[in-house]
Symmetry: C2
Subunit: 286 residues, 2 copies
């Protein structure tokens, strides 16, 4: 039986989770995520425990357990002026931070410095903090897919999923595309998302990001699909956070918000017979 | 000799520092502070090491050492959804945090829980972190004047000033007005600001905040005066931070920004023969 059948749908159903990354990053990201859940087509999000606006989003998560809420495990911080780092004391996880005590900006600096035992310790602390706050997480995923850089780190991530009985988001093609290792990944006995739908910078540059989302929904295949977006408002705060970083920048995030709260998106889901599913359903049968 | 004379001015000069609190709190606060320094009448600010936007402001401080930059020692967090806490691991300073690991919201919860040795440890860490970042601080002051709640805590603050050879901001009347202790303060051998000029909620509520600032400049007395303001933009981020807290809320902070970058303010300073001075000058003769 494939995932669709296990969930009670016909074998060739186009399953989709529409998932908002980066909740907790900023007020703008939080409020756009909340609106996209309440009024849009987004049905899942994940929360960054390391960020200053975690508390606001955690409060929403506790009072709105009807939405999928994952933990967006964080080991990198890509922004120029807005910094975050481990929730553990940096003396406990020194290999995860730069000279200022913040996470490295790139997956490659992270990969070249991070010691696996410290990665495991920090990610465990992030999950535990979310649990202490009363969040009931539905899944795990990873900021900038930093857990995908080597098979060893991906195994830590998969093990955390087993330990906490939470499905983990993995797309084989995406992990392999960002890999920084020559070693082979072991995807056996792992639930894999068949297709990862995500925006591309080339489309954004051409002003085609919104259209690319519409097309992706038109071309969606049967199987387990995940649409990853980053809804936020193109406001002063997000412009400050994403300065000099148009890739997944504030303008991009506004487009994400606009499309996934649009009537066009709702119609596309209907026209294409797309079946929205949740991590919660997957958790039950996993 | 009084302070004016020590600084080379006539005895009865109206000395004034126009000081912006809370830099580092948010992008809005940072950018408004920077604009108020560069284009307005503000000539001093202090930075919150515990906050998410510290890095952006610290970068400004390092590249713009011409402005007074103090360390805004932080032991409380008054906001509902936007939280910060110690920079030390909370296991080292457990008496400073609530059940979620953040600073207490009120001076009174802080006073009832905080152990003096932990206060000293955390404040030292905040100063050390600023120094490590390459900031050359010109003075110390305190968020919500939490160091003023008891004579014992005020002494820690004064001692830190001596240790780091930094003048500390103290106004006797203000400290006594927020005191939570029956014991007497010892202000001997302490440089005191004669008058603290600050906005009041009653004026804000009546729509008279801006006028109260203009009047305060008209009525300024000779001596060592400090105007405390909190410039920020009344934008989505600051509205999120200051939600349900109109006292020093985002609307208030926009008024602070508007007045202290206005021509009216500049004229008032001139008309009233007010002499702007800096903590840097005071540091030299202290």
């Amino acid at each position: 039986m494939n995932l669709a059948q296990k969930l009670g749908y016909p074998e060739n159903t186009k399953l989709l989770i529409i998932h908002a990354d980066d909740a907790g990053l900023s007020h703008s990201e939080n409020q756009a995520t909340i609106k996209a859940l309440q009024n849009g087509s987004v049905n899942s999000y994940s929360i960054m425990v390391s960020c200053a606006w975690f508390y606001e989003m955690a409060t929403f998560a506790k009072t709105n357990p009807n939405y999928d809420c994952g933990i967006h495990l964080t080991l990198t911080c890509e922004w120029e002026n807005y910094k975050f780092g481990p929730i553990l004391p940096i003396t406990e996880v020194p290999s995860l931070v730069d000279q200022n005590g913040y996470f490295y900006k790139t997956r490659s600096d992270f990969k070249n410095n991070a010691i696996p035992s410290e990665i495991k310790k920090e990610l465990t602390a992030q999950i535990e903090k979310a649990l202490q706050f009363g969040i009931q997480p539905t899944h795990l995923d990873s900021h900038m897919c930093s857990v995908g850089v080597t098979p060893e780190i991906l195994d830590i991530y998969k093990d955390l999923g087993k330990t906490y009985n939470l499905p983990v988001f993995i797309n084989k093609q995406f992990v392999e595309s960002i890999s920084l290792s020559d070693e082979k990944y072991n995807f056996e006995n792992t639930l894999l998302a068949d297709d990862l739908l995500i925006g591309y910078f080339t489309d954004f540059e051409k002003g085609e990001l919104r259209n690319s989302y519409a097309k992706a929904l038109d071309n969606i295949k049967s199987g387990f699909n995940i649409f990853l977006l980053h809804p936020a408002f193109d406001d002063f705060e997000m412009q400050g956070i994403t300065i000099n970083h148009p890739n997944f920048g504030s303008e991009w995030r506004q487009i994400d918000f606009d499309f996934f709260t649009s009537e066009e998106c709702k119609s596309k889901l209907k026209e294409n017979n797309i079946q929205l599913i949740t991590w919660k359903e997957i958790q039950k049968i996993n």
